[in-house]
Symmetry: D3
Subunit: 127 residues, 6 copies
């Protein structure tokens, strides 16, 4: 097992303990290597790196997924959950999204706010 | 003068004291309102807001401009300068860019790294 | 109150008299400044400007939202309504969308046509 | 009738015999020229060209629609069907999509895999 | 010769009399059909259509190329020339570009303004 | 050393024997892990996979980089070289690019053709 894969699994554990299992259940049949590759690349080769704390990394991800917009709606919601799990407040999430109106345009920011409101509402229902 | 404009000028002052003047010199002839609008909108309505510190805001901007890639090269370089001015280290800038390989693809991240290397080299020459 | 905000509210009034209120109802809780910022920036700093008539401005917006595609579906529909309110015919809206096949590709144009058909059908039902 | 249009109709016939009729039924009212233009341009001026076999052309389309992501979801599904009709296996479709994680980022690839899974499931239900 | 091709050549003549020849000189060796296809598709199947005047069509194109940004810089410049040839003023071109800050973000609008300034400066030198 | 890294180095060897070294020389100082990560992820986790031949994989990459356009210009050129190294003809490269006019719009395809012409001209000079 590669060191990157090990490190990735460790950091993903903090954000979303079932992530690899959930991905395997969904994508394992058409792409058995998928969940492991994602752990190694996204979490092992990026999030697990020193030099930037996990909360700031997650806020950067929120910003990026907001400006990418259309194609990343579902991933934005999952990462808003991860960002809250990394210790960010709802207000910080909203700020990171709203600032993106400057760079990705108002529609991207508005769609990002909609995603955040959906995540917050789902959380409130669980409580 | 709007409150948003005033707040925007104050925060821009910390990142780049000549920004409004530079923008006015360049774009004032074809669009006299341009520099003022940018101060009001980008800095007054976003960066000046409470809820997220300036350094984290700038790192989010780096992330967004990296994934937007092609159309934001010049703006990425200016914002790397602003991010360093907001107290981020070079390593933090590099981390925010490199993480974007996960979301915007490797080409976007590589072009972001190239932009950072150009900014760092220009800074080193000035010193 | 800023002049840009006043001018923005005036022009939005012509296109969609309840816009600021609707936006406030939806986004006011997580971002109290949102509706006001949008009025000031989008309508005050852009649509309210002299130099291009409102109908042509709206057709330009239709074109842009069509090529941006995925992330601007909901905004495209709202702006098709605004474009009709600014005096454009349905045929003009369809032409502005279809031409975008050249610049944003066929999928973007097709999705734009779908949005237009939805707006036209909703309007026909109301009548 | 233009030669490009004739050639386009011939190649579309192999991939999806009812395509022009389906497009005409849906878009003919707002844009009578639409289906014919698409046949001429997409199939006549591109797919019908010599120099690259139809199956490879379709796999290239899968790759492009995957990285374009958000705005091309419905078109990606239709083209996965066309790609299977052109002789590609499901595994080849999955490979072309998954490779795009490198260039368009993980969210684009994941959304592409979701589209493929939907198409495969729909096919399995028909059988 | 297709009707669409004939109509396309006619409308392109008004905007840029040498366009097909210039395109043929540049791309004819690797893609002999290129210039003719572009005339047929872009000008014959879109610009030549009734329902929207040529100047408004060109302003829509300016808007779209501005928000698409990075990948369309050279095409934006050519289309600014065509838009002026279709009867738009420089101010109208600037307005169409600047409005795009709302939809495509500030970087896209700034790069669009830079393109316009280059075209205007080149024109002024010729005079 | 991870199996994915080993497999990646093997396949990269066929396309561009100096790739890892070149990347290390350029990016090793600001990001020591960069070249290794790219070998592991792009080549080990994607290109090295069975199920699609290397030439078709490269043509899919050409298609994707063409539609992504602006932000991937330098990567498109390198991948055109890799695609020729994987056994594709110049005509096949041109076809994969030109077809993208349908999906990514004409500007993206034209910029892709320009990249191909640059690569072909550079190769012809070396000979």
């Amino acid at each position: 097992m590669s060191t990157a894969l090990e490190r990735g699994r460790e950091v993903a554990q903090q954000l979303n303990p079932n992530l690899e299992e959930v991905l395997n259940d969904r994508y394992g049949e058409i792409l058995p290597e998928f969940a492991e590759s994602l752990m190694e690349w996204a979490y092992g080769r990026h999030y697990a790196r020193p030099g930037l704390d996990l909360k700031t990394r997650q806020l950067c991800t929120i910003a990026a997924l907001t400006v990418l917009g259309g194609q990343t709606g579902p991933q934005l919601k999952i990462n808003i959950e991860h960002t809250l799990a990394a210790g960010a407040s709802r207000a910080e999430v909203v700020e990171a999204i709203w600032q993106m109106a400057v760079y990705g345009g108002l529609p991207a920011a508005i769609n990002g706010l909609n995603a955040a409101m959906d995540v917050f509402a789902a959380e409130d229902q669980v409580r």
